[in-house]
Amino acid sequence: MSGPWAVEVDDLSVRFGDFTAVDAVSFKVSPGEIFGFLGANGAGKTTTIRVLCGLLVPSSGKVRVAGLDAADGLMAIKRKVGYMSQRFTLYDSMTVGENLSFAAALRKMPGDVLARRTRELFDTIGFDQPVTMFVRDLAGGYKQELSLATAMLHDPEVVFLDEPTAGVAPAARARFWRLIRKIAASGKTVFVTTHYMDEAEQCGRIALMRAGKLIALDEPGALKTRAFPEPLVEIEAGPGAPEEWIQDVRRDAAVLALKPHGLRWHASVADAAGVERLVKALGSFATVKPITPSLEDVFIRLVEGADR
């Protein structure tokens, strides 16, 4: 896709003293894209987002957001972006309506605009809780929805969501992601970080950060193919499994890597013959089936082992 880009990052570095949080990172995001920004804790995700929101001045490199750069002024950028931050988003001891009014007041938004935007957003989001309710009394999932509404009150072109669903119930997470798709479909750009790999699967493209560097950027499917050129199998042992069976699997020369996944194991195997041999060896007490790697598999393979 050709420009204009929603987000352009060119050779961005951010240093705090002698610590380099973001190290020569470049990428571009298209308008209307759901862009997943993944990486280990401390990989530089939040720092990058803070630069893109005009909250932090980079040590070097250039960023453009919604066609604007630092020369246009940080305030101009702030008007074009919405930011739902990881930690703090809402005041617990204020009502739903008060939180929205407060956010509107910070942006010097007239009352009639606030009323109209609130109606529009509640309609889009499907938010049906009373505006007189205290935020602390909102049930799980609604807080995130309100927080998103607050971040989008000024109708930004690019929305940054920093771990929006941490600790949220599965059904509420699914609902939140339906919302993300709806927002992107309306032409807004959604830039999202998450530690839930099932959510990452729903992104158009994924950028993977490690120790301040961008180590991969592609669609989920392409990332999987690149990270796992060899077959991956899932092994689940039944009740009749002999003790120490997993040690035998680990010792198998064709097994390149073996990782626990809850009740199951994922083994990457050198070739099809290796898979066949595993099926034969374990078939009497375990199911061995070839699988498409999950993004968790990909994440582990690409990020693990390095300094992070």
């Binding site: 804790n41 941490a166 009740l263 992070r308």
Partner: protein, 243 residues
């Protein structure tokens, strides 16, 4: 079974408008790794706080046992470690200084302390970072430091409130490997989590929803009985069915 067992019977606790615990009954067996699984608002934190005596339930009983015999909480409380969700560590103190601080707090003899400290730094792999202030640790490392402080005194019961919330997939794995290493001994571990995939990593799971226990037992058995392929699906189905 050697070790401390915990049984909760009909616990109810109201926090302002919210019926946080609505008749929770469950049992934690000595020496096992237990998962307290449920979405936010299920009552996990309230239950853990009730177990360590930080709040008094409105109704119900909490019964502790040692090697099978009932024991008063006061007798075992010095060896009960609790790691709250928002761990208050000191941003300006380094890892090393935190350990020294907790040594003084627990009044550990020097010999015991240095052995324990070396062991913990080795299994958490935090040795290279001992001079880094807590305020500059990554999310996963911060949680590990919290765990180390809790483990310094060799607890018999370890209660961890969402230790992996907001922690990346690899650090999450490392944290669980750490728990497995601890689980080998006689320590009774209870870990709460909203990550449904972590339920499968526990010896026993206790599923909470809206202040009640909805299922407990071995993860495989609980899944089998519910007919769900995984715990995400199990909770999704409940929500779809309107609970």
């Amino acid at each position: 079974m050697p070790g401390i067992g915990i049984k909760a019977v009909g616990l109810r606790k109201r926090l302002k408008l919210n019926q946080a615990l609505d008749g929770v009954s469950l049992a934690f067996e000595p020496g096992l790794l237990h998962g307290l699984i449920g979405p936010d608002g299920a009552g996990k934190t309230t239950l853990l706080r009730a177990l360590v005596g930080l709040l008094r339930p409105d109704e119900g009983l909490i019964i502790f046992s040692r090697n099978g015999d009932p024991v008063a909480f006061d007798e075992i409380s010095p060896t009960v470690a609790y790691m709250p969700q928002r761990q208050s560590l000191y941003a300006d103190l380094s890892i090393s200084e935190h350990l020294d601080f907790f040594r003084d707090l627990y009044r550990l003899p020097d010999g015991v302390y240095s052995a324990r400290r070396a062991e913990l730094l080795q299994i958490t792999r935090l040795e290279p970072f001992i001079d880094r202030p807590a305020g500059q640790l990554s999310g996963g490392m911060y949680k590990k430091l919290g765990l180390m402080c809790a483990l310094l005194q060799s607890p018999t019961v370890l209660l961890l409130d969402e230790p992996t919330n907001g922690v990346d997939p690899i650090s999450r794995r490392e944290f669980w490997e750490l728990l497995y290493r601890l689980a080998g001994g006689a320590v009774t571990i209870v870990v709460s989590t909203a990550y449904m995939d972590e339920a499968e990593r526990c010896a026993r799971v206790h599923l909470l929803d809206a202040g009640r226990t909805i299922a407990e037992g071995e993860p495989r058995r609980v899944l089998h009985e519910s007919g769900a392929a995984n715990f995400d699906e199990l909770f999704m189905r409940r929500e779809a069915a309107g609970r």
